[in-house]
């Protein structure tokens, strides 16, 4: 078993039942993601990329096929076991940030640690470190409504980061942001990947984001139709202030 293989999906199918009709969302998908990868899963809407993300993120389970996360077959685990895996091994970043309103940035970031059973000073320390890592060390007590869109997404990244997950899944993380903050967000992901070796998977239809990764997997109608490396990855954080 290759220790560098983080995710091993073999012949994954996902079929949704809409009443009596069965709608296949993914069909025969096999994919390997290695530790430290920075990649994008691309495809138009309806291509199955959301389903793909849900399965990778252990929010959903495949109808058939095998999904191994760090060598553990998670496709047959119970809801509570999946919750534990999401808590410890997976970080989510959503298009709409999904921060808790009326809750400070720090408390938002502490949330996964709460469910991990970490409390008190340790929780606070780790949440602060995560916020500092995304450059928000000075905004700990601000509420989401007091932060800009880019800052909110950075809080969300800190929240995804705080439990030191094996993989961060970012679902259209720049979709609700202007170009400049979008680039900053992509830059943060790149930096986390390059400097800390954190595995990052973007799920997007935006080729601009995809160009900032090292590998692009293309989905169409529930099948993988392309899987190629990016030859000249652009760096978002070096491009800051220059020509994007």
């Amino acid at each position: 078993m290759d220790n560098n293989v983080l995710i091993q999906m073999t012949d994954i199918c996902k079929v949704y039942k809409m009443g009596l009709v069965e709608v296949p969302a993914l069909c025969g998908v096999s994919l390997e993601i290695r530790r430290g990868e920075l990649m994008a899963i691309m495809g138009p809407s309806g291509s199955g990329k959301s389903t793909m993300m849900n399965i990778i993120g252990c929010l959903d389970q495949p109808t058939s096929g095998e999904y191994k996360l760090e060598g553990v077959d998670v496709s047959r685990l119970s809801d509570d076991q999946l919750a534990a895996i999401r808590n410890k091994k997976i970080g989510f970043v959503f298009q709409t940030f999904n921060l808790l309103r009326r809750t400070s940035a720090l408390q938002n970031v502490e949330l996964p640690l709460t469910y991990a059973g970490i409390s008190g000073a340790e929780r606070r320390r780790r949440a602060m470190a995560a916020l500092e890592a995304v450059g928000l060390g000075h905004r700990l007590d601000h509420r989401p409504s007091e932060l800009s869109g880019g800052e909110q997404q950075r809080v969300a990244i800190a929240r995804a980061l705080v439990n030191e997950p094996s993989i961060i899944l970012a679902d259209e993380p720049t979709g609700n942001l202007d170009t400049k903050s979008g680039r900053e967000i992509v830059g943060i992901f790149q930096r986390l990947n390059l400097e800390r070796g954190i595995t990052v998977v973007f799920v997007t239809h935006d080729p601009e984001i995809a160009r900032h990764t090292r590998r692009i997997v293309r989905l169409l109608d529930g099948k993988i139709v392309g899987d190629e490396p990016v030859v000249d990855m652009r760096l978002a954080f070096e491009a800051r202030g220059g020509a994007g």
Binding site: N54, G57, L59, D60, D79, D80, A83, A84, R86, N87, K88, F92, F94, N98, L100, R101, R102, T103, L111, P112, T114, Y115, A116, G117, S119, R159, N163
Partner: protein, 418 residues
């Protein structure tokens, strides 16, 4: 996630919508306030009854005009109507006092009431004036604190002397020194010769507010109420049985004598009622139980409505916070974490309502006590515990459904919910 943390989260999300939380709690507040008032007043009544019974004295039987027991015990109006009947006389009392005919009664006192105004100089007091016999303090177990009660000579001579209850004395003579003063009842002067010690409470034949004069004086100077044979009409006869276990026999003997004297053939035609302490206790018990049922119904309905209100708001809250639930699940909340979160929120709502209700109930019962005058409501730790338990149970019961709905949400759908 520990309890303190869950409670903090619940408080935070409730404080997000304070007005809504307050309105939701209202049902619980009213319900618990009713429970507290009910229990504390109920306990106060019990204490009062015990005090009354003790103050009445042991082995005491009451004979009152009218038939209380036969047709309608508990119908107060008929009781009031019949008690106006002039069916008991001083002669009846003397017959009961005859040891040949009523061997199980050792002493008999009578009392005639009237409501009138008693005047001392420029001070007036609307109160009850009683004509009574010399042995009244002994039979009723009342103690004279200052001066003396009237004597045999006062009684036989129809002296214009009066003994005051403690409250009456305080009202007429705020500075004390009642004994030796002259008061006017219906324009006739009476010399105050004594003041009773305070008994507390009012109830049947309460002594504190009353003014006592000799029966003879009462019927010659203050009223002309006579029976057909010219005898004094009395409001009540008090008979002291020789001992506790001869009470039943004494009651029977008294009834027999009175039936003879009143030419009554059948028990159902009695124009008098002999009451012992147990009967009085029963009357109190009846009033208390009506009160209990009434307040209990309010409490139950209010708690039910309050609980439904909580359920309703929690369901709204679950829907409003679908995305939050989805996110919590995505970052690792298990089913039971979400279940507990909403359950604790419901319980915090109902418990907070419960505590406000306890405070309100305490105020309410004090108010009832103030209004009734003689009643001192008793709030015990167990009452508070019961109310707290009740409101927690309501929160738990009505919170379970919304909480389990939240816990059952699929995180994918929840995250996508608009």
């Amino acid at each position: 996630m520990n309890l303190a943390e869950s409670v903090k989260i619940a408080l935070r999300s409730l404080s997000a919508n304070k007005l809504r939380a307050a309105l939701t709690m209202l049902g619980i507040i009213i319900g618990v306030a009713a429970v507290i008032t009910l229990l504390s007043v109920g306990q106060g009544v019990q204490v009062l009854v015990q005090e009354q019974i003790q103050s009445i004295g042991s082995n005491l039987l009451f004979v009152v005009p009218g038939n209380l027991s036969a047709q309608s015990s508990g119908n107060l109006r008929s009781t009031m109507a019949t008690s106006m009947a002039n069916s008991l006389t001083y002669g009846d009392a003397k017959a009961i006092a005859d040891p040949q005919r009523v061997p199980d009664v050792q002493a008999v006192a009578v009392e005639s009431f009237m409501n009138t105004t008693v005047v001392y100089r420029d001070r007036g007091l609307r109160t009850s004036v009683s004509g009574t016999t010399v042995n009244y303090p002994q039979v009723r177990n009342h103690k004279v604190a200052e001066g003396t009660f009237f004597s045999e000579e006062d009684f036989n001579g129809g002296s214009r002397v009066a003994v005051l209850g403690k409250s009456a004395a305080d009202a007429l003579f705020p500075d004390g020194y009642a004994v030796g003063q002259t008061i006017k009842i219906k324009g006739i002067s009476f010399r105050v010769i004594g003041v009773f010690a305070s008994k507390g409470g009012t109830g049947f034949g309460g002594v504190d507010d009353s003014v006592f004069v000799p029966l003879t004086t009462f019927h010659t100077k203050l009223t002309q109420r006579r029976s057909a044979t010219g005898d004094y009409v009395v409001s009540a006869i008090y008979a002291q049985a020789v001992s506790e276990n001869r009470m039943e026999a004494a009651m029977e003997q008294i009834a027999q004598v009175l039936r003879d004297r009143h030419d009554i053939l059948y028990e159902s035609d009695d124009d008098f009622t002999v009451i012992n302490q147990k009967d009085i206790l029963n009357i109190f018990g009846e009033i208390t139980s009506i009160l209990t049922i009434f307040l209990g119904a309010i409490a139950a309905i209010s708690l039910l409505v309050g609980g439904i209100g909580i359920m309703n708001i929690m369901l709204v809250s679950v829907t409003e916070r679908t995305r939050e639930i989805g996110l919590r699940k995505a970052v690792g909340a298990r089913r039971r974490d979400v279940l507990w979160q909403f359950l604790i929120e419901a319980m915090v709502l109902s418990l907070a309502g419960g505590f406000v209700g306890i405070a309100l109930g305490a105020v309410g019962s004090q108010l009832v006590g103030r209004l009734s005058g003689s009643l001192t409501p008793v709030i015990t730790a167990s009452t508070i515990l019961l109310a707290t338990g009740f409101s927690a149970a309501v929160g738990l019961f009505f919170g379970i459904y919304p909480a389990s709905r939240a816990a059952a949400l699929n995180p994918i759908d929840a995250l996508r919910y608009e």
